[in-house]
C-alpha cells in the first residue's frame, strides 16, 4: 500500500447523498479478476450525461471527491475503491461513509475524510464557484485546508499510523502467529469444519 501523508489537489463536488457502490462501479464491472482498469466504470451510468460533474472539462485531473452524506453504501465490493483510485482520486470527503466502504478505502490508501456537512457545503460552494480552487488533505495534521476553510478531522490512530507508513496488515498480523496458533488450540471441538482437518 502506498503511504499517505498529505495531498493537495482540485475537487470534484458531487452533490448527491446515498451514493451506493452500485453507482460507483456497476456490477458488470466486477467480472474483472485484476485490481486495475476500473477507471472507465467509475460512475458509469451518470457519466452517460455529458453535464455530469465528472465529465466537465474543468474537473479533469481533479483528485479529491467531495460527496454528500452516506457515501459508499450497499455492496461490499472493494472494486469501488479501486475504481476511485484508478480514476485518480486520492481522497474522498463526506459527512458520513458506509462502514465497509470506509474499511476498504483505508486498507487501500484512499483517504476517506469525515467532515461536518456545513464544511462539505463550504467546500462545494468554494469549488463550484472556482473549479481551480485546491484543497489540501493533511493526514499528519489531520486537517483539511482550502481558501476560507480549515477543518480538523478525526481518524482512528491505528488506521492513521498504517496509512502514514503504508503498512501491510497481513504481515503485521502474522507477527502474532504463535498467539493465533495458541487460540486455535483452545477452540472447542464442536466448532464447524468445512473439511476434515
Amino acid at each position: 500500500m502506498e503511504a499517505f501523508t498529505t495531498h493537495t489537489g482540485r475537487v470534484v463536488p458531487l452533490r448527491r447523498s446515498n451514493v451506493d457502490t452500485d453507482q460507483i462501479i456497476p456490477a458488470h464491472w466486477l467480472k474483472k479478476v485484476t485490481r486495475d482498469g476500473f477507471e472507465d466504470g467509475l460512475f458509469e451510468a451518470w457519466r452517460k450525461d455529458e453535464n455530469f460533474v465528472l465529465n466537465r472539462p474543468e474537473r479533469q485531473g481533479a483528485s479529491v471527491l467531495v460527496a454528500g452524506p452516506d457515501f459508499g453504501t450497499g455492496s461490499s465490493r472493494e472494486h469501488a475503491v479501486w475504481a476511485l483510485q484508478n480514476y485518480g482520486f486520492k481522497a474522498v470527503v463526506s459527512s458520513r461513509f458506509a462502514d465497509i466502504f470506509r474499511g476498504n478505502s483505508l486498507k487501500n490508501g484512499l483517504l476517506t475524510v469525515v467532515l461536518e456537512q456545513k464544511v462539505v457545503d463550504a467546500l462545494w460552494e468554494l469549488t463550484e464557484a472556482d473549479p481551480t480552487a485546491e484543497v489540501t488533505v493533511d493526514l499528519e495534521a489531520r486537517q483539511v485546508r482550502a481558501e476560507g476553510v480549515t477543518a480538523d478531522f478525526e481518524l482512528d490512530e491505528n488506521a492513521r499510523w498504517r496509512l502514514l507508513n503504508g503498512l501491510d496488515d497481513i504481515s503485521l498480523t502474522l507477527q502474532n502467529e504463535a498467539d493465533i496458533a495458541a487460540y486455535e488450540a483452545s477452540r472447542p471441538a464442536f466448532k464447524p469444519r468445512t473439511i476434515a482437518a
Binding site: 467480472k31 465497509i100 491505528n158 499510523w161 503485521l172
Partner: protein
C-alpha cells in the same frame, strides 16, 4: 455490568495478549486503543470478491491458513437457464474459471455450478449446518449479515480482508457499538419478515445502523421461523449496520439438528450448553435502542432508489417537498425521476412488467412456499414476466418434491436454476431500460437489476399477488382472496 449478545460473541473470538501489538505507532496512537484481532470461524468465498485476494496470496507465497474453515460456491455470475452449456458471457466464464483454478491450486472446498450443494452463498452456509450460533462468519459480500440469524457474528468484508482471512484466519477490527431493535407484539396477517425489515430500514434510514451491530429481539422476533430471521438479518446492511443478530433458541437448534455439519453426540450437548449462554444479559446496556410495535405494521414496499425509501402498500408515493431535510428531499426528487413516478400516486396503482422471487433475502424454501400459496390456481397477468429462482440446488430439489415448481409453471411463471439471478445485473437475468419489477431481493439502487431498470422491493407474498394483478398488490387484494396458508 452485563454484556450484549454481540459483545459475548466478540469477546470469545479476540486473540488475547498479542506478542507483536498490531499498533506499533506512537505512544499516543497506542493509548487510543488498538483494534482487536478477531478469530474467524467460517470463511465463505464466491467468484466475485476472491480473485484479487488469491492473487495476493500467490504473490506473497502464502498458503490458505485454515482450509477446514473455508468453503466456496458460485452464485453471482451463474446463469439460471441452460446450465449444462458453456457460459455465454466470456467475462463471467473467466471469473468462474478463475475461482475453480484458485480453489484447486490452494485446496479450497468448492461447490461449482452443477453441484448439488451449489447456490447463493448465504443460503448454502446455513443449509449445510456450517452457520452456527456463537461463530464468527465472514464473506466478501455485504449480505453476510444473513448468518446473524443464528446468533453468529457475521459481516461482509472487502477483498483485502478476504486475503487477510485466507492468510491468517483473523481480522483486526475495532469493536462496533450495539443497537437493540425490539419488536414486541403480534405481526398482523399478511405481514412478513420482509415487511418488518423494510419498515425498520424506513424508520432508521440507510445510515441509521452505521457503526452498530443490531440485535433484533422481542416477542415478535422470537416467534419468527429460522428462515424469516435470515430475511431480517440479511437486510441489516441496508440500514448501514455492520451486522445483525438474533439470539439462538429452540427454533435455531431445531433448524440445525441433523444437518451435515451440525455437531453430533457429545459435541451437540456441549454446543447447546454454550449456545444457551448467548443471550444479552438483563443488565446489558445497548448504545442505542429502537422499539417497534408489531401490530402497527402492514405490507411494505419501496418506491425509491434506496431501501430506506419505502412505505406501506396502502400509502401513496410521497411528495419530496414534504421532507424537511434538504438532502433527503433532493434524494426523493432524484428517486421519483429515476423511477418514473409522481408524488401522490397510490402505490397499488403502480404496474410492473417483471416479478422476481429469489435471492439471499427471499430465496429459501419457505419463501417459495409463501409465493406458491398465493399463486396456486391463479395465473400471472398478461404482459408480466415472473421469474422464480431458488436460492440453492437443495432448495430447488425440496420445492420440486413438494410440487411447487408445478404451481409456478402452471401459473405462467418461469422456474429457474439456483443463483443470485436478477438480484444484481451480473448474469443474463436483467431488467431492460425502463422496465419495472416487484422483487423479493434487497436493493432497489439505480441500475441494480439492469441498466435503467426500476425496482420495488417486496415480500414473496406481495410479489405473487403483484404477478397476478399486474400492479403492486397484497394477497388480500385478490378478488378471490383466501386465508394465506403460508408460513411467516
Amino acid at each position: 455490568m452485563g454484556r450484549t449478545l454481540a459483545e459475548k460473541v466478540w469477546d470469545d473470538h479476540v486473540i488475547p495478549k498479542l506478542s507483536a501489538p498490531l499498533d506499533q505507532g506512537s505512544p499516543q496512537s497506542r493509548a487510543a486503543g488498538e483494534p482487536d484481532l478477531l478469530f474467524i470461524d467460517l470463511h465463505l468465498l464466491h467468484e466475485v470478491t476472491s480473485p484479487q485476494a488469491f492473487d495476493g496470496l500467490r504473490q506473497a507465497g502464502r498458503p490458505v491458513r485454515r482450509l477446514d474453515l473455508t468453503i466456496a460456491t458460485e452464485d453471482h455470475n451463474t446463469p439460471t437457464l441452460d446450465i449444462d452449456k458453456p457460459i455465454a458471457d466470456p467475462v463471467s466464464r473467466a471469473q468462474l474459471e478463475t475461482l475453480r483454478k484458485n480453489c484447486a491450486e490452494f485446496g479450497v472446498r468448492l461447490h461449482p455450478l452443477g453441484d448439488v450443494e451449489q447456490g447463493v452463498v448465504h443460503v448454502v452456509g446455513p443449509q449445510l449446518g456450517l452457520t452456527q450460533p456463537g461463530t464468527t462468519v465472514v464473506c466478501g459480500d455485504s449480505h453476510t449479515s444473513t448468518h446473524g440469524a443464528f446468533g453468529a457474528l457475521a459481516f461482509g468484508i472487502g477483498t483485502s480482508q478476504v486475503e487477510h482471512v485466507l492468510a491468517t484466519q483473523t481480522l483486526p477490527l475495532a469493536r462496533p457499538k450495539t443497537m437493540a431493535i425490539t419488536v414486541e407484539g403480534e405481526l398482523p396477517d399478511e405481514v412478513t419478515a420482509k415487511d418488518l425489515i423494510l419498515a425498520i430500514i424506513a424508520r432508521i434510514g440507510t445510515g441509521g445502523g452505521q457503526g452498530y451491530i443490531l440485535e433484533y429481539r422481542g416477542s415478535a422476533i422470537e416467534k419468527l421461523s429460522m428462515e424469516a430471521r435470515m430475511t431480517i438479518c440479511n437486510m441489516s446492511i441496508e440500514a448501514g449496520a455492520r451486522a445483525g443478530m438474533i439470539a439462538p433458541d429452540a427454533t435455531t437448534y431445531d433448524y440445525l439438528k441433523g444437518r451435515d455439519h451440525a455437531p453430533q453426540g457429545e459435541d451437540w450437548d456441549a454446543a447447546v450448553a454454550y449456545w444457551n449462554t448467548l443471550r444479552s444479559d438483563d443488565d446489558a446496556v445497548f448504545d442505542a435502542e429502537v422499539v417497534i410495535d408489531a401490530a402497527e405494521l402492514a405490507p411494505f414496499v419501496t418506491w425509491g432508489t434506496n431501501p430506506g425509501q419505502g412505505a406501506p402498500l396502502s400509502a401513496s408515493v410521497p411528495d419530496p417537498a414534504s421532507y424537511e431535510d434538504a438532502s433527503e428531499r433532493h434524494a426523493a426528487e432524484k428517486a421519483l425521476e429515476y423511477m418514473g413516478l409522481t408524488a401522490g400516486q397510490p402505490l397499488r396503482e403502480i404496474s410492473v412488467d417483471t416479478v422476481f422471487v429469489g435471492s439471499c433475502t427471499n430465496g429459501r424454501i419457505e419463501d417459495l412456499r409463501n409465493a406458491a400459496s398465493v399463486l396456486d390456481g391463479r395465473k400471472v397477468a398478461d404482459g408480466v414476466r415472473m421469474l422464480v429462482v431458488p436460492g440453492s440446488v437443495r432448495v430447488a430439489l425440496q420445492a420440486v418434491s413438494e410440487g411447487l415448481d408445478k404451481v409456478f409453471t402452471e401459473a405462467g411463471a418461469e422456474w429457474r436454476h439456483a443463483g443470485c439471478s436478477m438480484c444484481l445485473g451480473m448474469n443474463p437475468d436483467q431488467l431492460a431500460p425502463g422496465e419495472r419489477s416487484a422483487s423479493t431481493s434487497n436493493r432497489n439502487f439505480e441500475g441494480r437489476q439492469g441498466k435503467g431498470g426500476r425496482t420495488h422491493l417486496v415480500s414473496p407474498q406481495v410479489a405473487a399477488a403483484t404477478a397476478v394483478l399486474g400492479h403492486l398488490a397484497s394477497p388480500a387484494d385478490l378478488s378471490d382472496a383466501r386465508t394465506p396458508a403460508g408460513v411467516r
